[in-house]
């Protein structure tokens, strides 16, 4: 480097010049920086070598040693990955669900990987070209049902995304599973909209919305939202998909309902597992769930007394208005019996059995299992 002339000393009669800090440049950085390496060897467990199995390297496979320890409370409100050395003194992000009982399900990691393996794309996987014009009454009915199903998917989306960011980072498996669940719901949202707009029809009338309201107003905790969103509504949606799949008019509809059913089954599996866990590990959850479902059944029956969905389904099942009141409503009755039986079975399994005779009408009328389609 060329020698620069020394700076002239300032005259004692003049104020000293303010020292100017040398401008840092990248070349200074390269020249002067000495690495500290004080991050090295900072680990809580070293020597971990998880090998991929037959199904690849799965999220659940990582739960070895301390990395698999999921404590009952997660006080850390940062995004410190579970098992990493935390950095102290960082302002919290603000996670409100910090108890394992508030979200956990052992199956979440497996459901996450399963959801990824079973992904589908409505735009290209649904054989849209198999849709042929339908009689006007049937098209109206299909479009009305799809409008309701778009509404269900919307509530799935708004509810899951409203809770997911409140869940502690230490329980990442659940956050990740819910990412697949809200993405599933996104698919359902656009797919049912696409079906409604693909065959000479359009969207119908919005749903009555009482169950939507119950779900979105579940502000007490994610567990409460799960009761309404995934058990009460989720089981209902699953039953609808099943019967709509059986009465599909073409391969496109069969594909859509079949895949929506498989997606929804994962969500309900998580819900059952989570509720069982929450009831076993937190005081009062069992009683709270019992109260919630008693109230929820009232809300559900309010929606069921609205004739629109039942009539639209009856037209689909009866393949037209002419047979809707007879054959169509008979299948609707079978569907409702199937739903009530599944719902009562889940309640029983969860340890909150319901007396079929005491269900509010019209639910109690479907509590008789005879006559349900196998």
């Amino acid at each position: 480097m060329a020698n620069k002339p020394a700076a002239k000393p300032s005259s004692p009669n003049q104020p000293a010049q303010k020292p100017v800090p040398p401008k840092s440049t990248a070349s200074d950085e390269k020249r002067t920086f000495e690495p500290k390496y004080n991050w090295m060897n900072k680990t809580r467990q070293w020597g971990v070598r998880v090998k991929p199995g037959k199904a690849g390297l799965r999220l659940g496979d990582l739960n070895v040693g301390i990395y698999g320890e999921t404590p009952t409370q997660w006080a850390d409100q940062s995004r410190n990955p579970r098992g990493a050395v935390p950095r102290r003194g960082m302002p919290p992000v603000g996670y409100s669900i910090r108890d394992k009982a508030g979200l956990w399900a052992d199956c979440a990691a497996d459901l996450y990987e399963e959801a990824i393996q079973r992904r589908w794309a409505p735009a290209t996987d649904v054989p849209w070209d198999t849709i042929e014009p339908l009689p006007d009454d049937v098209e109206h009915a299909v479009c009305q049902v799809c409008t309701e199903l778009v509404g269900y998917a919307n509530v799935d989306i708004e509810t899951i995304t409203g809770w997911q960011h409140q869940m502690s980072y230490g329980y990442h498996e659940v956050k990740q599973f819910l990412a697949t669940a809200s993405f599933d719901a996104a698919r359902h949202y656009e797919c049912f909209r696409k079906r409604a707009l693909a065959n000479g029809g359009g969207l119908g009338l919005e749903g009555p919305g009482m169950v939507n309201r119950m779900i979105l107003e579940s502000r007490g905790g994610w567990t409460e939202a799960v009761v309404y969103l995934l058990i009460m509504r989720g089981t209902f949606a699953m039953t609808l998909y099943k019967y709509l799949g059986r009465h599909a008019h073409n391969d496109a509809e069969r594909f859509i309902y079949g895949h929506a059913l498989a997606d929804k089954a994962r969500h309900v599996t998580y819900a059952l597992d989570h509720l069982k866990y929450a009831m076993a590990h937190a005081d009062d959850v069992l009683q709270v769930v019992r109260t919630l479902i008693a109230i929820g059944e009232g809300g559900l029956t309010r929606d069921l007394r609205d004739p629109v969905l039942a009539e639209a389904l009856a037209v689909v099942f009866g393949r037209g208005v002419a047979k809707a009141a007879g054959r169509g409503m008979a299948v609707y009755g079978d569907m409702m019996r199937d739903y009530v039986a599944t719902y009562l079975g889940y309640c029983q399994w969860l340890g909150v059995p319901r007396d079929p005779a005491r269900l509010p009408p019209p639910l109690n009328e479907y509590a008789n299992p005879t006559g349900a389609e196998a």
Binding site: W39, R87, Y112, R193, A325, G326, P361
Partner: protein, 353 residues
């Protein structure tokens, strides 16, 4: 017992058949199947400038006057969240989903020298930590956005899924090769001006999508330089593909905002001022000298003994980050900041020469 339940026939009302949205709509699948662009036809394609839909009904469906107002949406003005290519980004996200369990050739990972493995694990810890800020935050905004703007919501939902996969792929990498997680950095903590705390969507998006994920995208695109094996190359390549969509969302949204709400341009410039400070900050692995950038230097140099070589590469990557950031901001319609002396990015690029 009701008639439906006992199988007796009942009169149907069928009044709902006259209460529909626009009828006789027939969307046709195109070259890429039936996309959400293909169903944006007629009135169904029109998102309102301001949404008065508080019941959550699908855009274009017939409303029930008695519906409950359960939406409580904070984002109801189109220019707050809209972008013109949402359909494309969403459909592409669906086509390009991948599995960290089965699409990464994990068997190609071989034992590495201890300093390199430690560096890999420090970087993987950092990425496991920061990836899901881009899941948590977009998710929250989805829950606050009216379904009348469902197209951008769909893109954000795909992003949450992508970030979930990013969080898990780097955790998998940290635990796959005889190492483990190391120390978290606190990079996404609750500081004023952080991604989590933004109370406006566009502020959040400028910081998350444009500057934050933009910087990460440049990094992932340098995966060939960073990777020690085929598995890592695949991870960086697939993550870069995802990040490119997230960045595109932010750039396209800023462009829409700039064109439709010019009164907000000055405010957006203020967010960009802040974001530019962060571009060389501790949250960037090739920013200031931090544990993560030290680990990057070891990875890029191929060991502690080549630290200086690694540092040179870090500075080259930083320069590229800054250049790409400038291009994106120009593309978003805020390029004047590089002409009028407001932005320090040109100087930062020069310093990284």
């Amino acid at each position: 017992m009701s008639e439906a339940a006992n199988g007796a026939e009942r009169e149907l009302d069928l009044g709902w058949m006259d209460r529909t949205g626009p009828w006789e709509t027939r969307a046709e699948p195109g070259k890429y199947g039936l996309t959400i662009a293909d169903i944006s036809i007629g009135d169904y394609g029109d998102a309102p400038e301001v949404s008065d839909n508080l019941t959550g009904r699908a855009r274009g469906a017939a409303a029930r006057p008695a519906s409950y107002r359960i939406g409580a949406y904070a984002v109801r003005s189109k220019n707050e969240i809209w972008l013109d290519n949402a359909s494309f980004l969403y459909e592409e996200a669906l086509q390009r989903q991948w599995s960290s369990a089965t699409d990464v050739p994990w068997h190609t990972i071989e034992p590495l020298p201890d300093d390199v493995e430690q560096a890999e694990c420090q970087l993987a810890t950092f990425l496991t930590e920061v990836e899901f800020v881009a899941g948590d935050v977009p998710a929250r905004w989805v829950s606050l956005t009216t379904p009348d703007f469902y197209e951008p919501r769909q893109v954000l939902l795909a992003q949450v899924m992508d970030e979930s996969r990013h969080m898990d792929v780097f955790r998998k990498r940290a635990l796959a090769n005889g190492g483990g997680l190391m120390q978290a950095t606190g990079a996404t903590s609750g500081f004023v001006g952080s991604i989590d705390l933004s109370r406006d969507f566009t502020e959040m998006s400028s910081r998350l999508h444009v500057s934050g994920e933009g910087a990460v995208l440049t990094l992932f695109r340098m995966g060939e330089l960073m990777a020690q094996n085929e598995a890592e190359k695949v991870i960086y390549r697939l993550c870069a593909q995802d990040e490119a969509r997230h960045v595109a969302f932010g750039v396209m949204h800023l462009r829409y905002m700039s064109e439709t709400a010019p009164e907000r341009r000055e405010e957006i410039h203020c967010y960009l001022d802040e974001a530019e400070g962060g571009l060389i900050g501790a949250a960037n692995p090739v920013g200031q000298l931090t544990p993560t950038s030290e680990s990057m230097a070891i990875i890029l140099g191929g060991g502690k003994e080549n630290f200086d070589d690694g540092m040179n590469k870090i500075i080259a990557i930083r320069r590229r980050q800054l250049q790409e950031y400038r291009k994106r901001v120009i593309s978003a319609g805020f390029g004047e900041r590089f002409e009028n002396g407001r932005s320090r990015v040109a100087q930062m690029i020069e310093e990284a020469a």
